[in-house]
């Protein structure tokens, strides 16, 4: 859209076929929810849904950057848990202190990942796995393995509790701003194009004279920062630092990114589609809760996971069907 002279929907769809599936599924699910459940579109549901899912949206966006370069960041969940504790400890100084410092701690974990991957040349999977374990242990150590209550007297909890237009919690507003920022970076700056090019061919990018290492490092810093922000939202939303949270968050993030059409091997990906992917995964839970609320059928938490897995599979299948034609050879002989 941003890179089109004149917008032509048909061309846009054909060029972005890999992310069309997620939008269709998302709108279908929203429509389904609105038609079937009375309070689905109500202010309460919308704002609590957005508040809770803002954490997943933000780590998914960071993950999207990493995956586009062909890497992976398994440490995001643990880092979020760690920074939620940090944020809780800093909460007496107010949001304006706790938020940036906690994000900075996340960035520091990202820097550690970047150092291991770029300087020590450890594969991303292993390097971020080590950071994941380290951050998890660290979170338990600094918290004494218990939740750390935030200071309700400061403005810290306003982030999750106070709403703009009585609808949008500050958490989602901040995440939205971050998202637009990341989107602009990816679509309109050299850095963004370099990140995409690296995933499409790291050697080629080096030979083209692109600043490959710098871009790769930034991607892990961004992912770490996003995880840090998720930790702040976690602490403010639940009123406590949660050293035990964050388990399997990296997997949901990867799922959101993939459902959004980003190639796991890198080189292709989009921030809006990743957000749509995260919303979609959240919505499946939301709708199952409503379904349970109607009392007709009741899905246990385990069944909910199974259903979510099945739904994910269906969307990805649909997506690969749609992109098949694109991979086939085009143009001249």
């Amino acid at each position: 859209m941003l890179n089109s002279d004149a917008f032509d929907l048909r061309k846009y769809v054909s060029r972005n076929s890999q992310s069309v599936a997620v939008w269709i599924a998302l709108f279908a699910l929203i429509a389904f929810g609105l038609l079937r459940y009375d309070n689905f579109g109500g202010a309460y549901n919308v704002s609590s849904f957005l508040n809770y899912n803002s954490m997943f949206i933000v780590i998914s966006m960071g993950m999207c950057f990493v995956i586009i370069t062909g890497g992976i960041d398994l440490s995001v969940g643990s880092v979020a848990a760690f920074t939620s504790v940090v944020a809780a400890y800093l909460s007496p100084y107010g949001l304006e202190v706790a938020l940036p410092l906690a994000v900075l701690v996340g960035v520091a974990f990202g820097a550690l990942n970047a150092f291991c991957i770029i300087v020590l040349r450890i594969p991303p999977f292993i390097a971020t796995l080590a950071t994941m374990l380290g951050a998890k242990g660290g979170a338990l150590v600094i918290s004494g393995a218990s939740t750390i209550a935030v200071d309700w007297g400061s403005n810290f909890t306003r982030m999750g509790m106070e709403k703009v237009f009585n609808l949008f919690p500050w958490s989602i507003v901040i995440v939205a701003i971050v998202g637009v920022f990341l989107w602009i970076i990816l679509e309109t700056t050299s850095l963004g194009r370099t990140i995409l090019a690296i995933g499409g061919g790291e050697d080629a990018s080096t030979l083209m004279g692109l600043k490959v290492n710098r871009a790769k490092a930034l991607v892990y810093l961004i992912s770490g920062g996003c995880a840090g922000l998720a930790g702040v939202i976690l602490a403010s939303g639940f009123g406590a630092g949660q050293p035990l949270e964050g388990i399997a968050w990296e997997l949901s993030a990867i799922a959101s990114v993939v459902v959004g059409g980003t190639l796991l091997t890198g080189g292709l990906g989009s921030i809006p589609a990743t957000v749509a992917g995260a919303l979609l995964l959240g919505l499946v839970f939301n709708i199952l809760n409503f379904e349970n609320g109607r009392g007709t059928i009741s899905f246990s938490a385990y069944w909910q996971m199974v259903i979510r897995g099945g739904f994910l599979f269906a969307v990805i299948l649909f997506q690969s069907r749609m992109t098949k034609g694109r991979k086939a050879k085009g143009a001249t002989a």
């Binding site: 050299s190 995409l196 004279g209 692109l210 001249t332």
Partner: protein
């Protein structure tokens, strides 16, 4: 001061094996300078040492009057060296525009890429090469030739003092080569120097001023092209006596000698789409059938149809008396093999060894009682390394470390070792040096003499004319005639191509 670049006594070894041992080259300003040598002589390594991809073990480099201490390709670009590497340095998933503009995108407010301007400039740059394509499409959706031209366009647009082209014409046809030469002359007239690596010696005489010859990592000479002959160049590359080579001659290889066996394959009036609308051919055992035509004539499409990649919309293929394959997997089971023109897509597995790459498709045949017969595997691999003259430290060397021409030989060996009844070869000698080219042509002849059939596609008329027993001539997706050896000359082939209008009318 007219010398732009001076590389002196360059040394470079990989894991103790010397790739360069005292190589030198000097390039004047505004000169088109050729660099030639056999596969593995060290041409690409020399270039990569210059552009900072590899760090030299010894020697000096003077560029533009100053000692050069480049450590990354980026610095090389910044000092005015633009390079088209042999293995295309492009990102197929990204758009054409991105591939041309990456790192040099026009900006608004110094930050935001001005896409409209980027697309416009890309279109303008490509127009100089006579290419008019949708620049927003992923580069990978275009042919190898277009991709190669895009790589060239990018390098030329970088406003460099020296443009390096490592085998730029390997995937181009005659008309595209002509366009490229026009661009090269334009660069020269603007005072830009060009370093030109190619195995097509005739090209050099047309476009280059001087030529440096390398052999086994060393420079063996530098002469003006006006003062030398093709024979002398070949002799220099191979390190042999010119007379000896002239005697060995260009005779042993020749089409038309084949005894035709039973019919292996027929294609009757087949079509797969707009780019292959009417194609007929027959292939017998013991025969090499060439497909002749210009780029876009439908040669590759014909091969894809025979191999079951593209579904037929019309017509009939008969394979050894039975029906046609519906997929490549079926085709392989039915005894077909297809060496595609795109080395990377064809499936070199870069990190795996020469041995593994060569026997990948062969493992079922090498398996005894569920175990791979290692001794036989090694024996077989060694046989092909010797037969094709593959230059490798040993068979366990990762294939990505081989020179471009040697990688191509491994791929060819993979198919030959598989012994399909019908082997389709799309540009089998791309990037292969003159010496090895003859060897390969002989091996192909040998192969059909053992009772197999080969379909040969080549943009080099010489290779077709000398190699094929018959040539099916294609134009705009239609087979329009057939030439039979002995008796085909390049002239006749060109005529057949030129008279297409009358024939089709």
């Amino acid at each position: 001061m007219t010398t732009l670049l001076e590389m002196n006594a360059i040394r470079k070894a990989f894991n103790g094996v010397a790739a360069l041992s005292g190589a030198s080259i000097a390039i004047e300003r505004g000169e088109v300078h050729a660099l030639i040598g056999q596969n593995g002589a060290g041409k690409s390594t020399m270039i990569k040492v210059l552009t900072g991809v590899y760090h030299r073990d010894g020697g000096t480099i003077l560029f533009n009057g100053a000692e050069s201490v480049l450590t990354t390709p980026r610095e090389a670009q910044a000092t005015g060296i633009a390079t088209i590497y042999q293995e295309l340095n492009l990102v197929p998933l990204r758009s054409v525009t991105e591939n041309v503009m990456l790192g040099y995108e026009p900006k608004r407010l110094g930050t935001f890429i001005n896409w409209r301007e980027a697309h416009r400039r890309t279109r303008e740059i490509l127009m100089r090469f006579g290419i008019d394509i949708d620049v927003k499409m992923p580069l990978g959706s275009y042919s190898t030739a277009i991709q190669q031209l895009v790589a060239i366009a990018r390098a030329v647009s970088l406003d460099a003092k020296l443009v390096i082209m490592d085998e730029p014409t390997s995937s181009l046809d005659a008309s595209e080569v002509k366009v490229l030469f026009g661009v090269v002359r334009g660069l020269r007239d603007a005072g830009v120097s060009v370093l030109y690596v190619s195995h097509f010696l005739d090209e050099l005489f047309e476009i280059c001023d001087r030529v440096t010859t390398m052999r086994d990592g060393q420079t063996v000479g530098c002469v003006k092209l006006a003062e030398t002959t093709k024979l002398e160049l070949i002799a220099g590359m191979l390190g042999r006596d010119p007379d000896e080579i002239a005697q060995a001659g260009m005779t042993e290889f020749g089409g038309g000698a084949a005894k035709q066996g039973e019919v292996l394959l027929t294609a009757q009036d087949i079509a797969t789409g707009p780019r292959l609308s009417k194609f007929d051919m027959t292939l017998h055992r013991g025969e090499i059938v060439g497909l002749g035509g210009l780029l876009g004539a439908g040669r590759t499409e014909a091969a894809r149809a025979l191999f079951g990649v593209d579904a037929l919309t019309r017509g009939k293929i008969t394979l050894k008396g039975a029906g046609a394959p519906n997929s490549p997997a079926e085709a392989i089971r039915a005894g077909l093999g297809f060496l595609t023109e795109d080395r990377k897509a064809e499936g070199i597995i870069p990190g795996m060894s020469v041995r593994e790459n060569l026997t990948l498709a062969l493992l079922p045949k090498l398996t005894r009682n569920g175990q791979i017969d290692r001794a036989r595997e090694r024996q077989l691999v060694q046989k092909y390394i010797d037969a094709l003259g593959i230059k490798t430290a040993d068979m366990e060397q990762p294939i990505r470390e081989l020179s471009g021409g040697n990688q191509q030989k491994v791929l060819l060996a993979r198919w030959l070792a598989n012994e399909p009844d019908i082997l389709i070869l799309d540009e089998p000698t791309r990037g292969v040096d003159v010496g090895a080219k003859r060897e390969i042509q002989m091996i192909i002849r040998d192969y059909v003499d053992r009772g197999f059939g080969v379909v040969l596609i080549s943009s080099e008329f010489e290779e077709l004319v000398e190699g094929a027993d018959r040539i099916v001539v294609l134009n705009e997706g239609r087979s329009i005639g057939e030439l039979k050896n002995p008796g085909i000359t390049e002239h006749k082939l060109v005529q057949a191509l030129a008279h297409t209008d009358e024939v089709t009318a």
